[in-house]
């Protein structure tokens, strides 16, 4: 980038808000999906919405593409820089502006972390429901961009359910207020589509969100099964009994081994483990939990273990949330996918995954949100063995197609980003994609906001899913992925 422009950007954010050294810029070359790397021309860290506006106006004038970035924990390359473009990081805009307990509203700047919201309202007995596994470090703005989920969405819904209002800067630099603190604002619901737009509509500068009252009681049961099909049948039976658990999670043998090695949650030693979490009024939770045990047993559970204390419950969840990263302990390389299927298709799709993984001679660890059918198959392989990586990628691709064929989705939480954009036509028709492009061009007629993401390029050749590679800071032991 030429010196005149750099100095113009510098005049907006000052020295503290400008990253231009080649080594420093490398920090921003990828997000949580490390296979794709593009070094940005410049990274700007504005401190106010006005600075964001000034930066975007300059980008607009010079037609420089920009990519917004929170903490860079995304798993689909959404925050991957665009060639010749800049990155606008929101990490310095990290103040909680307002906590309105009576109305259960919180107003935050975009760089506030997910966990910080719950921390701010927790003394009042409230919490922020979406709980992606990276919640300790990921930002609310990143959650808004990706419409993040978590283990408790089956009952509580994903990010979009909780975002009421957004202040955003769109690609000509204008500042717009969408939605607001009160519900049902007249006009089109623009907050709805903005959430999950993966940074392609604009940059969020302020967020009004809803928190909810912590339930009176939460209980978590572990049930040990001989197969994930049995555990899946128990999930269906629990739901058929009219219950609405806060979470229903299944981990298979490989995932359990990995979690056990990493954080010692002391899970039962079994082929498949089901976690059932009920919450609500104490009386109701106690009565319903008495029914859950026998339902699990009737589906083949041979051990039931109720977390006896809050500490024990936390250990159970720590194991579950660490499962992804922990797989690194049992395999040198692995691919992560997050396809979704209708819950009843679970036994069939799992059987099919088993069959295909045997065919390819690869192991697949399964950790999934069984309540909402969100799979997280982890394809394990060793890239040092010739041909394994290739086969692993084929298998991951097969799994995504299986999900779509079963009536599901190619992504439940991680987003399309760079990683899965070539798979969009597997799920959507040309007309569907065209409708999405119309909306995109209404927000960003200049193609400046994260322009290369989410949609397949003109090159229709399918790109393979990509391998997980540890980020340099992970290798250095400075961070861990959850």
């Amino acid at each position: 980038m030429n010196a005149r422009l750099v100095s113009e950007f510098r005049s907006i954010v000052g020295d503290a808000g400008l990253v231009s050294g080649p080594e420093q810029l490398r920090t921003y070359e990828c997000d949580g999906l490390t296979l794709f790397r593009v070094v940005p021309e410049l990274v700007l860290l504005p401190a106010t919405a006005q600075e964001v506006q000034a930066i975007v106006k300059l980008c607009h004038r010079e037609r420089i593409p920009f990519v917004a970035r929170g903490s860079g924990t995304g798993l689909s390359g959404g925050a991957l820089p665009v060639k010749g473009g800049i990155v606008i990081g929101v990490s310095r805009m990290n103040r909680i502006l307002e906590v309105d307990v009576p109305n259960a509203r919180v107003v935050v700047e975009p760089g506030v972390t997910n966990s910080a919201i719950t921390a701010a309202v927790s003394p009042h007995g409230y919490f922020y429901a979406p709980d992606p596994s990276s919640q300790v470090v990921c930002t609310v703005a990143g959650n808004v961009a990706e419409n993040s989920g978590g283990a408790h969405c089956f009952k509580y819904g994903v990010t979009t359910t909780y975002i009421l209002g957004l202040e955003v800067v769109v690609s000509d630099g204008s500042l717009l207020r969408l939605g607001g603190a009160s519900l049902d604002q007249p006009g089109y619901d623009l907050v709805g589509p903005f959430v999950g737009s993966e940074g392609t509509f604009g940059i969020v500068t302020k967020i009004t969100l809803r928190v909810i009252k912590k339930p009176e009681t939460t209980q978590t049961l572990m049930a040990a099964f001989n197969s994930s099909s049995e555990a899946g049948a128990a999930v269906s039976a629990i739901i058929a009994a009219g219950m609405f658990p806060a979470a229903l999670e299944i981990m298979d043998r490989l995932a359990l081994e990995a979690a056990e090695a990493a954080v010692h949650p002391n899970y039962p030693n079994c082929q498949s483990l089901l976690l059932v979490e009920l919450d609500g009024s104490t009386r109701e939770v106690e009565l319903l939990m008495e029914k859950v045990g026998p339902i699990c047993q009737s589906c083949g559970a041979w051990e039931l273990r109720l977390a006896k204390s809050e500490a024990e419950r936390m250990a159970v969840w720590k194991g579950r949330k660490a499962a992804f990263a922990a797989v690194g302990r049992i395999s040198p390389n692995y691919l992560v996918q997050d396809g979704v299927i209708p819950r009843t298709a679970l036994p069939r799709v799992l059987g099919e995954i088993d069959r295909r993984s045997a065919e390819k001679g690869l192991r697949v660890a399964n950790v999934f949100h069984a309540g909402d059918g969100n799979l997280h198959p982890l394809v394990l392989y060793d890239r040092r063995i010739a041909g394994q990586e290739e086969r692993a990628m084929e298998l991951a691709e097969d799994i995504l197609r299986l999900c779509v064929e079963a009536g599901g989705s190619i992504t439940g939480e991680h987003g399309i980003g760079e990683e899965k954009k070539q798979f969009m036509p597997v799920m959507f028709s040309a007309a569907d994609l065209d409708a999405m492009q119309r909306l995109r061009s209404a927000f960003d007629p200049y193609d400046l906001c994260n322009p290369t993401k989410m949609f397949p390029g003109t090159d229709a050749k399918l790109q393979r899913p990509v391998a997980y590679e540890p980020h340099p800071i992970e290798i250095a032991g400075l961070a861990q992925r959850y």
Binding site: G180, D189, L190, E284, G408, S409
Partner: protein, 425 residues
Amino acid sequence: MSQALVQNNEAWIELSAVVGPEHLRPATPEDAVEAVQPTGVIAPGTAQEVAQVLRYCNSAGLTIIPRGGGTQLGLGNRPSRADFILSLERLNRVIEHAWGDMTVTVEAGCTIDKLQGVLREHGQQLAADPMQPERATVGGVLATAESGTLRIRYGAIRDLVLGVEMALPDGSVIKAGGKVVKNVAGYDLTKLAIGSLGTLGVITRAVFRLHPVPVATASYVATLPTASEASKLVLAILDSHLVYTGLQIHARRADQIFVHVRFEGIPESLQDQYVKLVRIAGEHKFVECAGDVWTARQKLFVNPGSAVICKCCVLPSQIGSLCHALFQQAAPAEVAVTLVAQGTGLAEVRLDAAGQQLLMTVLRALRSEVDRLEGTMTVSQCPVAMKDELDVWGTLKDALPLMQRIKQKFDPGQTLNPGRFVGGI
């Protein structure tokens, strides 16, 4: 235009070829939308037919008013033109109740009652209670983003929809979202469609997530002497651990405010919840009441006559002050007031008076109070003549130009519902 002429003209011939002549008829005065008389009523039988009708009308410069059960046709500004009513009455099937997955795929013209009936066979429900369920259709409820008293527990209708199929003015049929509870592939066009009042496309099918029908339900009422005490009680309930599925304020007089609470669940837990409610309410006595208190919203719309019904969206903590201000304005002006407010901060108000000017006065005062509270107010129902004097959608923020651009991208020919939505969209 005489009927004979209408039936011989090119549009009539083209459209009747699309849907079959038996599904196209001349419009009657009952088909008028806010006193704007359409020419014909067309009832396509498939999403593809809907799309073909839209494409033809779009290319011929004709306008379309989509209609489900016709329960919300009074919403919005007067249409600037209305050539054809597009009735979704033939798209009325429940396509698939995947009860094991707790989802249902249903066509847009299916009534809410019919849908709920099918779902109940497997002990499930769409956890929403829009008004007039015997007439209101899936498509109409989505287009108007109608939500009822269950919203406080289960979320708005937008939170219950997993995907929609929609016909666009260019003749394409698109799907957005999907059939699974969690899905972040592509833009969430379902949310754009919901509440867009049929100005971008016509919803032809929807997929909902479902909930179990509760084993038992109980409703309770307390009577309070002032709006501020009622508001305090509602806030205390909101801040409690009670698992209510309804929380409502209902008032016709400033000194007699009813607070309604509903619990659902297993019988043992209902008793437990009631005991806790009594503790929270303190001196205010809650007694069990009939479940029909939850139709209070719907009753506002019975025999509207010259009444004005508006929806005020404020914060839960502002309901008391809104209620107080309303009665203070209305009493001296001899305007009768009924207020039904949900614990979510959504208040619906009916104003009845002898003269239109009295109504306008109170309406203006109410709007300025809502503006002061930084909320929004829209008029859901009023005499047609009043619509020339007020914009029913109220004050708009700075996103209107963006909304107009979106309309331009989806319906550049202004084929759908012209003029009815915000800012003349």
